[in-house]
């Protein structure tokens, strides 16, 4: 209870500010509309109601967004193309596939980096540089390029997700696989353990907390990747496409609804990873 109350208070404050802001931001246009419709002296309460009910508001009011989310999820068949559940699922599948790719790639690179001096020295700067490439710029070309070699649909999106999500995993896993202290490694040396044994009995378990922390960042960023990919790959739908079409048609309510669904999806995904972490922790006796 005393964890929920503060959150509720802050949320309430946000909603109040939001309502006020949407009056303020939508007012100029509403005034213009009213002038044009020759409506003089609209009472303030009615004016406020008008600003909260515009068709294409600068800032939609919370209940408009909530209504759109409701209409586009619960009120529709999940298989309908208008359903955000349908689009969410499309994005989710690309996210999950990309996340799986990204995590695997990240772990593989980290293993290479900690076991091989040359990789250690040569890879890291380029891995960092790779993240400074504006993926949004490369995504359209990547989609076309992959199309040229026959990859369409889910895979290009997943690859872009992977491109973003492998990074936190490499960084975290390099740290994690290096986290065993010298003495813990020395212990294995006194047993003349093989590198393989050292990996599975020491480095890997020691890296678990780092892996999960990275995966929480990674899965959220995977979702960003899938959405970015959808901006360049409009065939087939997805939350990114909804965002895009909302934007090209000036439908702000639709943009906000898609954004909130994306945010909710991110939260759920992060929570799922957290849950998995909790389960693994319990199995390995990590202190609560």
């Amino acid at each position: 209870m005393n964890r929920i109350l503060p959150v509720l208070t802050i949320l309430l404050a946000i909603v109040v500010i939001w309502y006020a802001a949407s009056v303020w931001m939508n007012a100029p246009w509403q005034t213009r509309l009213n002038e044009r419709a020759d409506l003089a002296n609209v009472p303030f309460t009615e004016f406020v109601a008008q600003t909260w009910a515009q068709d294409k508001p600068v800032l939609p009011s919370p209940h408009q967004v909530a209504g759109e989310i409701w209409n586009a999820t619960i009120a529709l068949e999940p298989t309908s193309k208008r359903s955000l559940a349908y689009h969410g699922w499309i994005t989710l599948s690309a996210t999950l596939l990309g996340f799986a790719f990204g995590t695997s790639l990240g772990v593989l690179l980290a293993v290479a980096i900690i076991h091989n001096d040359a990789s250690d020295r040569s890879l890291m700067p380029w891995i960092i540089a790779s993240q400074t490439v504006p993926i949004v710029a490369v995504a359209p070309m990547l989609v076309v390029g992959l199309n040229a070699v026959g990859l369409t649909g889910l895979v290009p999106k997943a690859l872009i997700s992977m491109y973003l999500s492998f990074f936190p995993v490499v960084v975290g896993m390099v740290k994690g696989l290096r986290s065993p202290e010298g003495i813990q490694l020395d212990l294995l040396r006194t047993y003349d353990a093989t590198p393989w044994q050292a990996f599975w009995k020491l480095r890997w378990p020691a890296a678990m907390p780092f892996l999960f922390a990275s995966m929480k960042v990674g899965i959220a960023i995977s979702l960003v990747g899938a959405i970015v990919a959808e901006l360049s790959n409009t065939a087939g739908g997805g939350l990114g496409v909804r965002l895009l079409t909302g934007s090209v048609n000036g439908q702000t309510v639709q943009i906000w609804a898609a954004l909130f669904i994306a945010a909710g999806l991110a939260a759920v995904l992060v929570a799922v990873v957290g849950r998995a972490e909790h389960m693994v922790n319990r199995r390995t006796g990590v202190r609560a």
Binding site: A118, L123, I128, Q131, T132, W256, A263
Partner: protein, 369 residues
């Protein structure tokens, strides 16, 4: 001499020499057509002698360079390159890798100094990637509207420095820097404010965590709508993207001081301010720098995305999106190169400052960051 090579190095040496031998055989029918290539194949084959004779590691470097040179010099003007040139590509790549392996081993063994040589390895790696890119795009005739060769990009880069500089100023200097500074400072201040009140902290942190997982780029069109076309809207996107990582990291960092370090402060009956300034902020340093580093890559990406949704007719994002529309893909890649260079340099500068400021942290004290 075999004994001085690790298993991996041995395999690489065999691949390099083997491809040289095969290439030599395959190129015999066209003897003299590409003399440089022939020389490369011959010397590569000779390198198999390392199994019985000493073969210094710099020779592998020379061979890798020779191979790259031979390949680029004999790229066909059009059409596909002959099959055995692919063998040369594999061989010279194997030489480069072998060179890097042996260089790293020599540094580790203390035979070469760390400073100076440390930079060489990543550079060679990058060069190798670029050579492969050049040879594959040109050798396999990849359409320049799909993926231009690095040489074409470089030419375009050199020819358009004016445009690139103007775009850089618009995007990086006008949008990224102010947005980054505002976002990071705001995140830091809010974190400190929030930290004082457990109630605020309990309320804001879950929301902050939630927001930092959000696909913030989604707000780019909204920011353009709110803040107009010029740099202000880009800076706003950058602020929104950098704020939450800073908030979350700083709050975590402010809790990083250990219980005993705080107890010490309380035995002195230190005030809140004193504890903050003398203990908790310094202890939070590594976390704050972590956020600064994360944000340095996020900021540029945010500004570029925002430019996709409306700009004056200048800016890296603008140039990239219109460039794709006009199929000026080489210009697009030149802009991407600018972005990568600027982003890496930005990151590097922050990392350097970090080394100076958090010199005391174990991760800085020991080994590479």
């Amino acid at each position: 001499m075999i004994r001085t090579l690790s298993m991996l190095q041995l395999y690489l040496a065999l691949i390099a020499g083997g491809c040289g031998l095969l290439g030599l055989a395959a190129s015999l029918p066209t003897l003299g057509a590409a003399p440089l290539m022939q020389i490369f194949f011959a010397v590569s084959t000779l390198s198999l002698l390392r199994l019985v004779l000493p073969w210094p590691f710099w020779l592998d470097g020379v061979l890798a360079a020779l191979g790259a040179w031979a390949l680029i010099a004999s790229l066909p003007a059009e059409g596909l390159m002959p099959l055995h040139h692919w063998l040369a590509l594999i061989a010279s790549w194997a030489f480069a890798w072998l060179f890097v392996e042996r260089l790293a081993a020599a540094i580790r063994a203390g035979k070469l100094p760390e400073t100076g040589t440390g930079l060489v390895i990543p550079l060679i790696f990058g060069l190798a990637l670029i050579v492969i890119w050049e040879v594959v795009t040109r050798g396999a005739s990849v359409s320049p509207v799909l993926l231009p060769a690095p040489s074409a990009i470089a030419t375009r880069f050199a020819a358009s420095t004016g445009i690139l500089w103007a775009d850089f100023v618009q995007t990086f200097i006008k949008s990224v820097i102010p947005g980054y500074i505002i976002g990071c400072i705001a995140g830091l201040l809010v974190a400190i404010a929030v930290d004082r009140s457990p109630f605020l902290k309990a309320g804001i942190m879950p929301i902050g965590n939630f927001m930092s997982a959000l696909p913030i780029i989604g707000i780019a069109p909204i920011m353009v709508m709110w803040f107009g076309f010029d740099w202000q809207s880009k800076a706003a996107v950058v602020v929104a993207m950098t704020f939450f990582p800073m908030l979350v990291n700083t709050v975590a960092g402010l809790n990083a001081a250990s219980a005993i370090e705080r107890d010490l402060m309380s035995t002195y009956a230190a005030s809140y301010r004193q504890t903050l300034m003398k203990l908790r902020l310094p202890a939070a340093g590594p976390f704050i720098f972590n956020a600064l580093k994360i944000n340095s890559t996020l900021a540029l990406i945010g500004a570029i995305v925002a430019e996709f949704f409306g700009t004056p007719v200048v800016g890296m994002g603008f140039r990239i999106s219109t460039g794709v529309g006009r199929l000026a893909i080489d210009l697009v890649w030149a802009e991407i190169a600018v972005a990568a260079i600027a982003g890496s340099a930005f990151y590097g500068v922050i990392a350097l400052i970090e080394r100076g400021v958090t010199f005391w942290h174990p991760s800085v004290r020991g080994g590479r960051a």
